[in-house]
């Protein structure tokens, strides 16, 4: 079996959620099938500037073909078009222009996919909202399997994505909430789909003392791992934690791992250690009492899975359906919506408290049952088998004509997404 993994960026040093997800899947499937990665030369997800050379290379035993991005993103133009399609009635042409503007615009990549369609059994497209996934999936619709990595943001409500969600052969969802969202916006319940998620590269041994010694961390602490950004809920986290630190002078410290886009408050109980190696990250997780995930938008939190894999409880933003759903289903942590809940939950999850170890243990069990690599690989292989056995659907949705594409009849995408029932899938 030959599988093509198509993703917007690819590299051993790229730690973005969907990209890392794609790399893990490619590397693990490569033991069961021939895998090739088709991607762009971009490294920066904001500008999509070509930074890697076009052509073929091998990364960790996987063949990677890079194609240049024809036009870097103009952030002002993208912002203007986003406002237009998210908040106003618009046309399909407006949506296509938005997709072009979002990027990474790489016609060469799409053309290559069309050329090699017969060389692969299936094409795995990661991140439905980007140019490469939409155009690529339409080029090889009968062999396309989509890994949407969709969050509850307005982009999912654009009408152009509906035809792709309904037209691909299969979908590999990250969570039940993501599946419910995509079913809600596109009505693609008849398309084969399975909730898979992704595993992680969990080390066999972690050494908490090494982290404490290396970074001179002596007190018990809660940890945040990821980009320190307002979009990730870090501003609220800082606000809540500063209040918590004032209310509980002997409570936990907060350690932050990741690049800071947002200024980190100067406080003796907040330590920002910047971007650290994977070894340090896992050692830090092992040393922490609890992982905090304040992000309001997530399609799957890999770092939460990693925390569970190490038997650590998590404290997540209860307003994020996916995080809350995962936490409740796993019984591996608590969630908060207000400061009071944040403080009470943090207290409950401290290592000295009664709950942390129990919830962490349940999280580990959940991880082993649902997110260990054998389970993930089996789900992918089962999907390939199923799609190989089932014939592809012949009928394809007709694409609107020139005039229809220019009629401003599409509702604002935000309105479409808001119309889909929200909330975690608890059981």
């Amino acid at each position: 079996m030959k599988i093509a993994v198509v993703v917007q960026r690819y590299g051993a040093d790229i730690n973005g959620g969907a990209e890392l997800h794609a790399r893990y899947i490619a590397e693990h499937l490569s033991t069961r099938a021939t895998v090739e990665v088709l991607t762009t030369c971009a490294k920066d997800y904001i500008t999509w500037t070509n930074e890697w050379p076009a052509g073929e290379e091998t990364i960790r035993g996987i063949t990677v073909r890079r194609f240049p991005v024809s036009r870097p993103r103009n952030t002002q133009d993208f912002g203007r078009r986003s406002a237009q399609v998210f908040d106003h009635t618009h046309s399909i042409s407006d949506e296509l222009a938005w997709l072009d503007s979002e990027g990474p615009r790489s016609p060469a990549l799409v053309a290559h996919i069309g050329r090699v369609r017969d060389a692969f059994d299936f094409f795995l497209f990661f991140s439905a909202r980007y140019y490469h996934a939409w155009h690529g999936a339409r080029a090889v619709m009968d062999k396309a399997i989509l890994v949407p990595t969709a969050e509850r943001d307005p982009a999912v409500g654009l009408s152009i994505f509906g035809s792709v969600f309904r037209g691909v052969r299969g979908l590999m969802y990250n969570s039940f909430e993501e599946r419910a969202l995509i079913h809600g916006v596109s009505g693609n319940t008849s398309v084969p789909g399975v909730v898979v998620g992704v595993g992680s590269a969990i080390p066999d041994r972690t050494q908490a003392w090494r982290f404490r010694k290396k970074f001179n961390v002596k007190r018990p602490f809660a940890i945040y791992i990821g980009r320190i950004d307002e979009n990730k809920g870090c501003r609220t986290l800082f606000e809540y934690f500063l209040q918590y630190a004032a209310d509980f002078p002997r409570g936990l410290d907060l350690v932050l791992l990741g690049n800071a886009v947002l200024p980190v408050p100067t406080h003796p109980r907040i330590r920002a250690l910047g971007f650290v190696s994977d070894d340090d990250k896992f050692d830090a997780l092992a040393a922490a009492d609890v992982l905090v995930m304040p992000s309001p938008y997530e399609s799957l939190s890999m770092v939460a899975l990693e925390a569970w894999a190490l038997g650590k409880p998590v404290l997540v933003n209860g307003r994020c359906d996916v995080l809350r759903g995962q936490t409740v289903r796993s019984n591996g942590g608590l969630y908060y919506e207000t400061y009071q809940e944040f403080a009470e939950s943090l207290f409950a999850l401290e290592a000295s408290g009664p709950l942390g170890a129990v919830l962490g243990g349940q999280g580990r069990e959940f991880f082993t049952q649902h997110y260990s690599w054998p389970v993930i690989e089996r789900k992918y292989l089962d999907m390939f088998d199923r799609l190989t056995r089932e014939p592809a659907r012949e009928a394809r949705e007709p694409w609107p004509g020139w005039w229809a594409r220019r009629q401003r009849t599409q509702p604002p995408a935000r309105q479409v997404v808001d119309g889909v029932p929200a909330g975690p899938v608890l059981r």
Binding site: V328, L334, Q340, E344, L355, L359
Partner: protein
Amino acid sequence: MSDFQVKADAVDVEAIMRQIRARVREKRGVDYTEAEVQELAQVKLEQFLDPKGLRSDLVGQFRRRRGVSPAPPNYAFEDSTIYETHRGLLRAMRRLLNPLLKLFFNPDRISEALHVQARVNDVSHQRLRALEEMDSLYYELVHNLALEVTRLGIEVHNMKMRVESLSSRMDFDERRGRALESVVQYRQPRQTAPRPAPSVPPIATAAPAAVPAETMAVAGDAGDQGTPADRTASADGERRRRRRRRRRRPGQTLADQSAAAPETAGTDTDAETADFVAEGGPDTGSDTQDSGPDKQ
């Protein structure tokens, strides 16, 4: 913070969250989420601004108007502006005929007025810009005020409810206290003192069986008569009174006590006798339950 109820190895996150929320509710009074507070803030603002049912969308208006408005059209007006033209010959002729024009009216005044107007327009535009900048501040201010007022309103509401709850509890406690006072009974004396003989004076005879020993002793003192059993009871009562007096004056030394003993003892005995009589011991019978040290 109190501990959680962890009953087994397997715990239910939803159950824990219910406990946490219950505790938060206990502390805060009402469990509003931030979204609910925001919603309440909007609703209250609208109600405040729209008492007559008129459309009120101040917040929305503010948000829409937060952008900077485009500059209004203006012109630069100089003395020579009214003679300007791209045709050189025409410009020369206008200048040539200017004295003739001035025979009919004074164009300098018009030029001056328009020049001033252009400057006024500039100043007005600058002020408008400044006001627009202030608008965003006002928006933030009004928004934050509305939010805070709503929070305070909710808090005041909670406080009122708490005060009501506390006052109702206090009323209940008072009523309970009174009820207990009205049903209190004396404990039966432990020593098996025989019932008073018929020869006992009327004041002692009239005392009910439940009258305590000291009361009986008082009666004995008052009458200075009685059986040997009465006298024993009387002596016992006297000892108890002495002990009570010692307890009542913790600050006194032994010498003080012994110095003051005869007078005090007499006074106390008299006072107790007076109390007893005043509270109707011999006359009203069962009413003696209201007094005495052995209240139950």
